[in-house]
């Protein structure tokens, strides 16, 4: 066991693939969550129109920017909290 990911030993093929896969999975999950939330916040759910209204489109742009900012902010906050609690301990971490 090591604090630095795979430590001194070479990661196996399965581990390398799993690491890349996990990162992509995390990004996909974040994308799905953002889509769900920003749709709820910005889209008129009566569907009287099939086209995105100008106001809805602008709202989606701003919502996605705010979502990324919040995501980063919460990640930083958890990281500094966990560092305050755990002292030095590295390794895991909360960042995307």
């Amino acid at each position: 066991m090591s604090m630095f990911g795979f430590g001194a030993r070479q990661p196996t093929s399965a581990e390398k693939i799993a690491a890349v896969e996990n990162e992509l999975k995390m990004i996909a999950t974040m994308h799905a969550r953002m889509t769900k939330i920003c749709s709820q916040k910005c889209i008129d759910a009566t569907y009287r129109e099939g086209d995105l209204a100008k106001g809805e489109a602008v709202c989606l742009d701003r919502c996605s920017a705010k979502f990324f900012e919040a995501h980063q902010k919460i990640s930083d906050q958890l990281q500094s909290q966990s560092q305050a609690m755990a002292g030095a301990g590295g390794g895991g971490g909360f960042g995307i």
Partner: protein, 90 residues
């Protein structure tokens, strides 16, 4: 970590294709859920009414446009965030 051999890349490719199929199914399922929930509320008949059909059709078009727009924004934001994090590290 990103230095994969050829066979590792192939294995990864296979897995990503499976993931894409799964994600597409989730997206499709979410679309059905969302548009059905938003558009269908009358259960005096067992066939979709003209109004419900129209609503579902507009909902699908609008949801696809929403998906597309958010995916573009997401790609931009993700890229600039990744760039920022690499600047911090080095």
């Amino acid at each position: 970590m990103d230095n994969l051999t050829k066979s590792e890349q192939q294995e990864l490719e296979t897995r990503l294709q499976k993931r894409q199929v799964k994600e597409f199914m989730t997206l499709f399922g979410g679309l059905v859920d969302n548009c059905f929930t938003a558009c269908v509320d009358d259960f005096t008949s067992k066939a979709l009414s003209g109004r419900e059909n129209g609503c579902i059709s507009r909902c699908v078009i609008k949801s696809m446009a929403t998906q597309t727009r958010l995916s573009e924004r997401f790609a931009e934001l993700n890229q600039s965030m990744t760039a920022e994090m690499q600047n911090k590290r080095f």
